[in-house]
């Protein structure tokens, strides 16, 4: 399982950080840390299946609907 974030849609609300703190974080400027390593679309490495519930929660609570799971 991988997680993708559309960084053009994302506007750094940080709701995903509350839902899945093991996957998402904000940097000191209040931006999603994935912005430090990617542009356009961020694609994660292979993630542990245990994280699925919290990532699904992050998908639900993202105001911009910018997160997806890739199986």
């Amino acid at each position: 399982m991988k997680v993708t974030v559309d960084l053009d849609k994302c506007s750094d609300h940080g709701q995903c950080v509350f839902a899945a703190p093991d996957v998402f974080a904000l940097n000191s400027r209040g931006e999603l840390t994935f912005r430090d390593v990617a542009k356009g679309t961020y694609v994660s490495g292979e993630l542990d299946e245990d994280l699925r519930d919290s990532i699904e929660e992050a998908i639900d609570v993202c105001p911009m609907q910018a997160i997806e799971i890739e199986d």
Partner: protein, 412 residues
């Protein structure tokens, strides 16, 4: 059919049961998601009066208005497989017969249920003043957005927005950025007065003014006339405003009329208990904007909370509550969400946690950090308890202040 005499049956016995979710909204979709995620094995039907599948409404006043992207850009994502439930679109519910456990649709279809979820949300309120029948818009649905976009036929149009709430203020920002000349007219003295208070509302208003929005506050249109040169708004203080386009953004009304005749308290939404349950003993719940419920994290007063986040949280809560009630007759936990909302206006990101609107005494609203005219954190206090925080900017501090509101509420 599950009932009080049948409380010991497990999830598998629900196979022949049915949950009906009325309202193909954000709260409705998240309810479907959570019911199925909780292991419900019966049939789930989602009913919506709009012809569109569930979509995200906050972008309507912002990104979706300024971009040329179509419906797909705002269609809601869901972890639920589309074939695991049934969706009926373009037909609303006409009546509820709670005792008989049936919903009657506008086309007279009768649907029986074992569990009911009401997610019918709100509709725009219209000003009850003399005004032309056509050409005055409101914004609640995707079709409303398409109508407004269709009316924006050239640059530099004069647009009058009636209402100083979040939707009016967001629309003003987006339409100004698109090159139109926007006037906000409303009876309040500042923008977003009721939810944010005078100090913050005033500061946000200055921000709007600096970017070219005209604020005609403290007055109310009494009549709108349409003529060859567009619309004329006559206000109660003698002000006359001319516009090519008028948008009403004066709040909304809960969609509950279809539930009448059941002895329910439907004054300002569906009155629920602290588990979002209503009615006389059945598995009936309301979620999202339409639910009026006590949030025991704050007090016992039932309130409707018109936040995107509450629609999500109540829908997510619903699944376990519904399945637990249908299988064991009990609901394990009450619904105690941390209300949170955001609003983007020009380059301002406004973010709120808790219920700042509970505090009306200006001496109980204090600056925690920053400067009111740039980036600021405002704390809203009931005695020693911080019941809300509103941030302008300060994106890196969201987590900290959300935690502080949570801690403060827990320790009182």
């Amino acid at each position: 059919m599950p009932n009080a005499s049948n409380r010991d049956r497990g999830l598998t016995s629900l196979e022949r049961s049915r949950v009906v979710v009325v309202g193909a909204s954000l709260a409705g979709l998240r309810s479907v998601d959570s019911i199925l995620r909780a292991g419900y094995s019966g049939e789930v039907i989602l009913i919506g009066d709009e012809r569109h599948p569930p979509y995200n409404r906050p972008p309507l006043s912002k990104e979706a208005l300024s971009s040329s992207e179509g419906f797909d850009a705002i269609k809601l994502r869901s972890s639920t497989k589309p074939d695991s439930y049934k969706m009926i679109l373009g037909v609303g519910a006409r009546a509820l017969q709670l005792e008989e456990k049936t919903v009657i649709l506008e086309d007279d279809t009768l649907i029986e249920f074992d569990g009911l979820v009401v997610a019918t949300g709100l509709r725009s309120r219209a000003l009850a003043i003399p005004k032309p029948k056509n050409g005055i818009f409101s914004l609640r649905s995707f079709d409303d957005l398409e109508a407004i976009k269709g009316a924006l036929i050239r640059a530099g149009m004069r647009i009058a927005i009636i209402g100083a709430g979040f939707i009016g203020a967001e629309l003003a920002g987006t339409l100004t950025n698109l090159g139109h000349m926007v006037t906000i007219v409303a009876p309040e003295e500042v923008l977003m007065q009721r939810p944010l208070g005078n100090v913050l509302g005033g500061a946000i208003g200055r921000h709007h003014r600096e970017r070219g929005v005209e604020l005609c506050l403290g007055r109310l249109p009494l009549e709108i006339e349409s003529g060859s040169d567009g619309f004329t708004l006559y206000c109660d203080d003698g002000t006359i405003i001319r516009a090519d386009l008028v948008i009403e953004a004066i709040g909304s009304i809960p969609n509950v009329e279809w539930m009448q005749q059941n002895g329910l308290d439907l004054g300002n939404g569906v009155l629920c208990d602290e588990t979002l349950r209503f009615g006389h003993g059945g598995a009936n719940f309301a979620v999202g904007d339409v639910a009026r419920f006590p949030n025991l994290a704050f007090d016992e007063v039932p309130r409707r909370i018109e936040h995107w986040g509450i629609a999500v949280d109540s829908g997510r809560y619903l699944g376990k509550a519904m399945v637990s009630l249908l299988t064991s007759g009990t609901i394990p936990t009450s619904f105690k969400p941390m209300p949170a909302f955001w609003s983007d206006q020009f380059d301002l990101r406004i973010q709120s946690f808790g219920i700042p609107g509970l505090v009306v005494d200006p001496s109980q609203i204090r600056i925690l950090e920053g400067d009111i005219d740039t980036e600021v954190a405002m704390g809203y206090f009931q005695e020693e308890t911080m019941v809300g925080v509103v941030l302008i900017g300060l994106g890196q501090s969201h987590m900290k202040y959300r935690d502080e509101v949570e801690k403060s509420l827990k320790s009182r």
